[in-house]
């Protein structure tokens, strides 16, 4: 659950991180983008105003054209009608307007048919069919000149058919004739009548024109069922025609499948839409270019079988160019015709056919550089690429049908392996193409898949190359599927021929060319990049390969594409890349290592929101970078790339031996002649990628031309230099402003980068801190343990001290006791000594008394002597007793003996000793 919520949140955030085109914005650019949205809006408003005026003006300018410019008139008629419809605005009105428009176009269509058929009649009169055509056309011409639209048309068809004199056709035209009057005045009518015109057109000149009409019918949405019904009726009727028409017109060989396609187109409504007619003039101009390219490539294309059916294609484009040539460049007519006559081989010999002059071309160029308005972009791009001239009816559907039958491996050119590889790659890349873009839902992906598969089948030499998914996706956002297909065909086959093939030779060559250009223009920057070890191709490679998709902000990408598609070559690619180098180069100079330089460059280019600055810098600043110059440089570098590609396909390791670019450039400059020879041989040798042999002639011619043209070139250069000077002055001012901007950006970058470094260091430091903390914690633990131990020890100490103190006290008490005892003992001794003295005294007194008594007894009587004897026997005993008493006194326990002994004394003695005994006892009890 929380995961889901976070996902939702993420998605929600993403929704807010998309630009006006629905593409994701990088988070760091959101702020800048917001700042620019206001500018974008203003520019856009200005742009659409300018374009509206231009298209109107274009119409006005060409309308009163000379009577023979009927084709132009026809286009302009269409254009006016369209202008009306756009001005009127609301849907219902628009439908009406369309209806009238279509009605009115019928007339000029007729005149166009006439012109074309006349032209073909003039040039090729071998076939009877074409002769018929011319007749028809003349008839038509008469009718048209009478001036009445609708009725004449039906008559015209009637005439045409009757001219063919075939039963079926008469029937069908009758059918049609019935439809026309029935539906007159209604929008259905216009369509059905147009259908008639288209059928007639088919008879007159094959595919091309019917196709266009059908396109209008099927492409325009908002048509009722009725119109579809009539359409089907028509197609049914056409079915009836088929067998009869097949033999006499080579252009309509595929009539039967055409019917299928019509029904298909009614089912899938938006597979093809016609470009709005107001762009017809531009379209026409560009299809001239397409035609020219095809002339150059015709033979190559026919070589590979599953390319455009070149016969048809050439035929139609031939006619188209014929119109232009005949009316505009009448002088060239003869040469053009001769070219037609010798088309099979001589197409290349013509060299550079003069382009018709369009007075508004410069104005258009200016407008394109200013940007194409959003709502016109899809169609304008188609006009630029020349989708109309490129388109081959049913071709796309055929490719898709092949796809559905792929299981049976019907496609003879591709044994199953190849397309499967592409198919898988495409499947892988579908979800990775503008992931999350709102328009690329399930259906969008399906369209993208069909488109890419169809292209892979259309041009197996390219197949599918990553990056095309982005181009196709981008185109699908701007136009219906089949239109996108033809636009993609134009871009990849023509503009980027050889760039996206298996070997990508032209892409590699372009990188070398760009490197040379940049070395020439920004030596300082390149020196710095060399110093850092950065190769320019690292940066510019992805730019070129992706045509800046995903590299620049979308507004800038589209602006670059506007110019690129208008110019019809890769010049703008180079100019834009150079402009980016110019704008951001100075910032790169400050970088210190390769990584920083590339990161900085990526982020700076990714925030190139100032699309106008970019485009103008590119277009005005690098006028010297022209297609001719690029071709020249490409020729110069191609051989080296081809050698490497060839060698590497053989498994060799050539790149190690190949010289560095600088030295190679040097050698090119000094050995141009020999290189030219080499080039020729390689060009001749390479069948699959280089131009066919006649291109050598062409090269020589163009080489001569460039030499001849060198003088006016100088004058041009002077003018250009002046312009350049003015521009530079102006640029200087903007550069100063820009520098400030860049400085801040750089500061940001630097801080960001520092942050990265710092974060690494912080991480490291944090680790260290953590370690230290751990250590600290350990130490603390140890300490606390120690403290505890200490405490215990202290306690123990205290206990022991207490014990000691107690012991001391004990000792003291003991001492005291001893002292006391000693005192007692002394006292006792003293008393003993006294007692002894007393004893001595008592004894002496006793002796004295005894002596006295004995003296008396002797003197008085004899019985007294017996008594005296007994007493003398006792006396020694008493002495010992006395001495013994002294000893006994020290050893207290034997006092009793003393008492006992003293008990045995004479009665007098006994009393004395008992009294002394009593004294000592009393003394003992005192303490």
């Amino acid at each position: 659950m929380p995961e889901m919520r976070s996902n939702l949140l993420h998605n929600f955030e993403l929704q807010h991180r998309r630009d006006a085109y629905g593409f994701a914005l990088r988070p760091q650019h959101i702020q800048t983008y917001r700042e620019y949205t206001g500018i974008f809006k203003e520019e856009e408003a200005e742009r659409s105003e300018k374009w509206k005026n231009f298209l109107q003006h274009l119409h006005e300018q060409t309308e009163p054209g000379s009577p023979e410019e009927k084709y132009e008139d026809a286009l302009q008629a269409e254009a006016t009608e369209f202008e009306k419809s756009t001005v009127s605005g609301s849907d219902s009105e628009e439908n009406e307007a369309k209806a009238t428009e279509l009605k009115e176009t019928i007339v000029p269509e007729g005149s166009r048919k006439h012109d074309e058929s006349e032209a073909t009649a003039d040039t090729v009169s071998e076939k009877g069919r074409e002769g018929d055509k011319a007749e028809d056309a003349k008839l038509k011409e008469e009718i048209v000149s009478e001036g009445n639209g609708k009725d004449n048309e039906s008559e015209a068809t009637g005439e045409t058919v009757s001219g063919d004199s075939e039963g079926n056709k008469v029937e069908t035209t009758k059918l049609k004739e019935e439809i026309v009057p029935e539906s007159s005045g209604e929008s259905n009518k216009s369509e059905s009548s147009k259908e008639i015109v288209s059928v007639r057109g088919k008879e007159a000149d094959g595919d091309e024109d019917i196709k266009l009409e059908e396109d209008i019918v099927s492409g325009r949405s908002g048509k009722g069922n009725e119109s579809e019904a009539t359409e089907e009726a028509v197609s049914e009727s056409r079915e009836g025609d088929d067998p009869s028409r097949k033999p006499d017109s080579d252009g309509s060989t595929d009539c039967d499948p055409k019917k299928e396609q019509i029904s298909k187109e009614t089912k899938t409504i938006q597979t093809w839409a016609h470009v709005r007619p107001c762009l017809g003039a531009i379209e026409n101009m560009m299809s001239f270019r397409v035609k020219k390219r095809k002339d150059m490539k015709g033979e190559q294309l026919t070589n590979s079988r599953d390319h455009l059916p070149s016969i048809d294609e050439e035929g139609s484009s031939e006619r188209e160019s014929e119109k232009v040539f005949k009316k505009k460049v009448s002088v060239n007519k003869t040469s053009k015709e001769s070219e037609n006559a010798s088309r099979e081989r001589g197409a290349q010999g013509d060299g550079v056919p003069p382009e018709p002059y369009f007075s508004w071309k410069e104005e258009l160029e200016c407008l394109v550089r200013g940007g194409v308005p959003k709502d016109l972009r899809g169609e304008v791009w188609q006009a630029f690429v020349g989708v109309k001239a490129r388109r081959v009816e049913r071709y796309y559907q055929d490719l898709l049908a092949q796809e559905t039958n792929a299981g049976e491996i019907k496609d003879h050119d591709n044994p199953s392996g190849l397309p499967r590889k592409y198919k898988r790659q495409i499947e892988k890349d579908l979800p990775r193409t503008f992931p999350g873009h709102p328009a690329l839902n399930e259906d969008g992906r399906d369209s993208l898949r069909r488109l890419l598969l169809a292209y892979a089948r259309h041009n197996p030499s390219v197949g599918y190359c990553q990056a095309m998914n982005f181009f196709a996706g981008l185109l699908l956002l701007l136009m219906p599927e089949e239109n996108a297909f033809w636009t993609l065909v134009g871009i990849i086959d023509d503009y980027f021929a050889g760039c996206y093939t298996e070997e990508m030779i032209e892409s590699q060559v372009d990188q070398l060319v760009f490197e040379e250009l940049i070395r020439e223009r920004f030596p300082k920057l390149v020196n710095h990049l060399d110093y850092l070890g950065v190769q320019v191709a690292w940066i510019s490679g992805p730019w070129f390969l992706s045509i800046f998709v995903n590299m620049l902000p979308w507004d800038s990408v589209l602006r670059v594409w506007d110019v690129l598609l208008y110019e019809g070559n890769r010049v703008m690619l180079f100019r834009t890349a150079l402009a980016l180098m110019e704008i951001y180069g100075p910032a790169l100079i400050t970088t210190k290592d390769a990584g920083d330089a590339i990161t900085l460059f990526q982020s700076l280019t990714g925030s190139t929101f100032d699309s106008s600055q970019l485009v103008f810098t590119a277009c005005m600043g690098y006028l010297g970078v022209t297609d001719a110059r690029l071709q020249e440089l490409r020729e110069k570098h191609r051989p080296s790339v081809q050698v490497v590609v060839e060698e590497s396909s053989k498994g060799g390791r050539v790149w190690k031996d190949s010289k560095g670019l600088a030295s190679k450039l040097y050698s090119f400059k000094h050995e141009r002649g020999s290189q030219m020879d080499e080039k020729k041989t390689t060009v001749n040798g390479d069948i699959s990628h280089a131009k066919p042999p006649p291109s050598d002639l062409d090269e020589l011619l163009s080489g001569l031309n460039s030499e001849v043209d060198s003088v006016p070139d100088l004058q041009e250069q002077v003018v250009w230099m002046k312009v350049e000077l003015c521009r530079l002055l102006e640029e200087k001012r903007s550069a100063v402003l820009r520098a400030e901007e860049l400085e801040t950006a750089l500061m940001e970058m630097v801080t960001q980068d520092n942050r990265r470094l710092l974060s690494a260091r912080i991480e490291q430091l944090e680790e260290e801190v953590a370690d230290l903390r751990q250590a600290l914690a350990d130490k603390k633990e140890q300490e606390s343990a120690m403290v505890q131990v200490l405490m215990r020890v202290e306690q123990e100490q205290r206990v022991t001290e207490d014990a000691r103190r107690k012991a001391e006290q004990d000792v003291a008490t003991h001492k005291y006791a001893v002292h006391v005892l000693e005192e007692k003992y002394e006292k006792a001794m003293a008393s003993l000594a006294q007692m002894e003295k007393r004893v001595v005294m008592a004894e002496s007194t006793l002796e004295a008394t005894l002596q006295y008594q004995s003296g008396k007894a002797k003197a008085i009587s004899s019985p007294k002597s017996v008594q005296n004897q007994g007493s003398t026997v006792d006396s020694p005993r008493r002495r010992t007793g006395l001495f013994g008493l002294g000893w006994r006194d020290r050893n207290k326990g034997k006092q009793t003996n003393v008492e006992e002994s003293s008990n045995s004394k004479s009665t007098t003695e006994r009393t004395d000793s008992s009294t002394s005994q009593k004294e000592t006892e009393a003394k003992e009890q005192e303490p």
Binding site: M504, P542, V645
Partner: protein
């Protein structure tokens, strides 16, 4: 691009980035790393996971190549700045790959463990680098999408064996779950030849 043919002589050699304009000191390495491998194996996802810590299941197709850099710090207090070139996977872009792997010190060859075809393609890249890469290039073989064990087609042992045979470092990662992504780059950083200071 001009890769194969326009080699400035100075960068034709091996680990130039380490000594030439590269790391000025042994403590702060700068390494050019290139990611190679079949389309859709998750090269860009690995880089995005490593550099930004993000995973986007619907990332864009890489056209040509894209560049990102990221610095990591190692235990021994050295930092390694990876300059990562994430190349386009489609076969034909192999023609442009030399432009990016030339002079790279590290090559990370990625395959998808749920696609044996991508493993074959990885082996092609290994051979290609052995032939044309710097002689002392550090190579890592990475089996990505390791979170999709159920649809595994390439046993881990195959990867280990092949890597061992070719002297590579092997790891299975998942950019989706971020499994082993940082480990991959840390391990690479450890295996880098250190420019010992007195060396030059």
């Amino acid at each position: 691009m001009g890769c194969a043919s326009s080699i400035p002589d100075k960068s034709a050699g091996g680990l130039n980035n380490l000594d030439n304009g590269g790391a000025p000191d042994a403590k702060n390495l700068r390494v050019k790393l290139v990611l190679l491998g079949d389309s859709g194996v998750g090269k860009s996802c690995i880089v995005l996971r490593f550099v930004r810590g993000q995973f986007d299941p619907t990332s864009k197709v890489t056209v040509g190549a894209s560049f990102l850099s990221q610095t990591i710090a190692l235990q021994d207090s050295t930092t390694v700045k990876f300059e990562i070139w994430d190349t386009a996977g489609q076969e034909r872009y192999a023609a442009l790959a030399p432009l990016y792997y030339r002079g790279a010190a590290v090559a990370v060859i990625v395959y998808d463990i749920t696609s044996s075809e991508s493993f074959t393609k990885a082996q092609y890249w290994v051979k290609e680098l052995q032939k044309h890469g710097s002689p002392d290039i550090v190579m890592a073989l990475v089996g990505n999408k390791a979170d999709l064990q159920d649809s595994r087609e390439v046993p881990a042992q195959d990867g280990i064996d092949y890597a061992e045979k070719n002297g590579m470092f092997f790891i299975e990662t998942s950019a989706k779950t971020a499994d082993n992504i940082n480990q991959l780059f840390e391990e690479i950083a450890k295996r880098l030849p250190r420019p010992s200071a007195p060396d030059s």
